[in-house]
Symmetry: C2
């Protein structure tokens, strides 16, 4: 049995065996950088498919539709559009989502009930079904279509995000779109993961939830949560071999491979947050519980004051300590250790003398690591965010106009 | 008995009888617009004084000091500086705060134990006591000193914030500073309220807490909570008359007057949030509990996506509904009504046709009112925030440099 995970940066959702994809342009996404805004992903055979969805009480029509279908052992694919979220669309939304799914199913020759639907974009507007259906009819699937799909799902993302991992026995591919309105749970707007590993449905769901918790739920761009957040995992079993379940020998390596893929894609999203110029990694150690560690991470990566300070390379480290203080986690000021980019800033609550200029320099690097030790327990958590720039304001001040 | 509350926009903390104040420049606040950064407020006689403080677990030295003293029936005044928060300053902070209080007490002739201390500014730096003590020795108190104090406490505020209210029987004056790092609980960095009404200590504390809940705890600028947040209420009784307690005839009018003053000052803070160009008022009705109504208000006024949309006059109303959806409050999409600036946007979860251009126009006004009815219960809440501009990023990207 192979226990090494190989990372394939050029991998996509069509890298695993038996998946094809394609995309076209309906003209509804004004941000579309590649003139693509509708994509279809299809498996040659039925898949075990599971999903994790937004916790927002306002859910997009596509999310409600998929939640009815999943988990499923018969799903054949998914159709996704960018530019219109089909959320807050009242009674019409559901019918529109179903129609979009039906058109895609007809085009790629599968049953309507086995075609999932996802949308991202402006909230409160109806799907322009005529435009979408025309685009769907133009889509041709191919084994290289994963690249097109990665491009078609982008909104304010500056680059497509995809990769794959392989263990020799099986392959997992993924593509995500992020950029704004991202916050735990779920942090990613849309994520699609495919694998040719034969994975039992319950274990597939457990694995996706556990891995999402450590990856997409540990990033934040702006603290907002979308009604469309959806993460899908399709397993078509075409790599062959024994079914992977909780107790099978491949269970651990499957989860490890999935985690490698998801953490990479989550970091790609944080790095490409709207207006972001750098990635902020926050590691918290010594917490009394995992929940406490996680709270401190989330509060720091979501703090506008920390994010602007990093953006300006301002060595205003006090804001980090104070964000930890308001996180709700158990902590004692006199126990805190803080390091930024490897520079010791505080030990046991006492600020240390340090070279401000050097810190400012370190803050200008592409990736900034903040480490806090609460020195109270043995739990840790790591999360990722980005700096807050004027560009974020520009992007969001005239998103629909 | 007088039951009318008269609003005095030019009032200050020295408008009530028997309060004097003064300020000087220590040179520690580089943002000081009026060359003032240290102020002293003093009552001619001992006051009943209460306070409400930050919920952040990281508390500034001045907060810890005041929490030890309050509530008190002997307090004579407070000394406050801007430019240095004296927070996250380890073991030195407490001693520095005490020294600052002692110097002020000596200068204005009161006991050290009756002089409170407040600070605001950069976190993690020690108070430059020599500079502060020199400034303190230059302070002369006067009955017009309230204006100087309002100026001396400013950091990135663009204008001093103060007012008074009078009932004929007594007067209440207040001054606050806000601008950034403000979020419920407490939303204001520093607030000082004086009254010549004779108010019993327990009722004074109850009143301040209740009113803070409806005013300063209902505003947000950036979701961050300062370790220095403090709101003080000094009652010196010099207006004469019977002691006001829970059951006294003046109890209601005192609370009403205090609420008028605090809501005015809270809105002034929101309006003058860092980089803000307009005030956003959010009113939520029909909630199943006060807590639910309050959660929806807070989530909307804190949402970067709502704030940037208002800034850009972008009629992207979906972001408001979605912020409500992630607030944690009980709500049903199909029950939601939404109005922006008096324009009906959604009824029972269904978007209505409306004039986008008119909405965009309304969003450009100085004050924008957002109203949501959850149609589930009878509880309401109102809160205030501001738009998010590039200027916010500029201000915070190089705060210490």
């Amino acid at each position: 049995m192979n226990t090494e995970v190989t990372f394939i940066p050029q991998g996509t959702v069509t890298t695993p065996k038996g998946f094809m994809a394609g995309a076209a342009y309906a003209g509804i996404n004004k941000h579309a950088r590649f003139n693509l805004d509708v994509a279809i992903l299809r498996s040659d055979v039925p898949t075990n498919t599971v999903g994790v969805f937004t916790t927002n009480k306002i859910k997009a029509a596509s999310v409600l539709l998929c939640q009815k279908i999943l988990p499923s052992a018969t799903v054949r694919g998914i159709v996704v559009n960018s530019g219109c979220a089909n959320a807050s669309t009242g009674e019409y939304g559901q019918a529109d989502a179903q129609n979009m799914g039906a058109a895609a199913a007809a085009n790629v020759g599968v049953a309507m009930s086995d075609m999932l639907v996802a949308s991202t974009g402006v909230i409160g507007r109806r799907l322009p079904l005529d435009l979408i259906n025309t685009a769907i009819s133009q889509i041709n699937l191919s084994a290289e279509g994963g690249f097109e799909m990665a491009k078609a799902i982008m909104t304010t993302d500056t680059k497509p995000k995809h990769c794959a991992v392989s263990t020799g026995n099986f392959t997992i591919g993924g593509t995500v779109k992020g950029a704004g309105m991202m916050h735990p749970n779920m942090a990613t707007l849309l994520g699609f993961i495919t694998t040719d590993a034969p994975v039992e449905l319950t274990f597939l769901q457990t694995s996706l939830k556990a891995v999402a918790e450590k990856s997409f739920n540990m990033i934040s761009v702006d603290g907002d949560t979308s009604p469309n957040d959806s993460l899908f995992l399709f397993s078509n079993g075409m790599a062959g071999g024994d079914i992977i379940h909780t107790d099978s020998p491949h269970a651990a390596i499957f989860q490890q491979a999935l985690e490698t893929l998801c953490i990479y894609l989550a970091k790609e999203i944080a790095r490409d947050g709207e207006g972001a110029t750098r990635l902020i990694e926050v590691a918290v150690h010594g917490a009394q519980s995992h929940d406490d560690a996680s709270k401190v991470v989330h509060t720091i990566i979501s703090s506008p004051l920390v994010k602007t300070a990093v953006h300006g390379c301002d060595p205003n480290w006090g804001r980090i300590v104070v964000a930890a203080g308001r996180s709700g986690a158990t902590l004692v000021e006199g126990d805190l250790d803080l390091d930024i980019a490897g520079i010791a800033i505080m030990r046991k609550g006492v600020p240390l003398p340090f070279d401000m200029k050097r810190l400012s320099n370190e803050l200008s690097r592409e990736q900034v690591r903040i480490e806090i030790n609460l020195n109270l327990g043995s739990y840790s958590a790591t999360g990722w965010g980005c700096d807050l720039s004027k560009e974020y304001v520009s992007i969001n001040a005239d998103y629909t106009t």
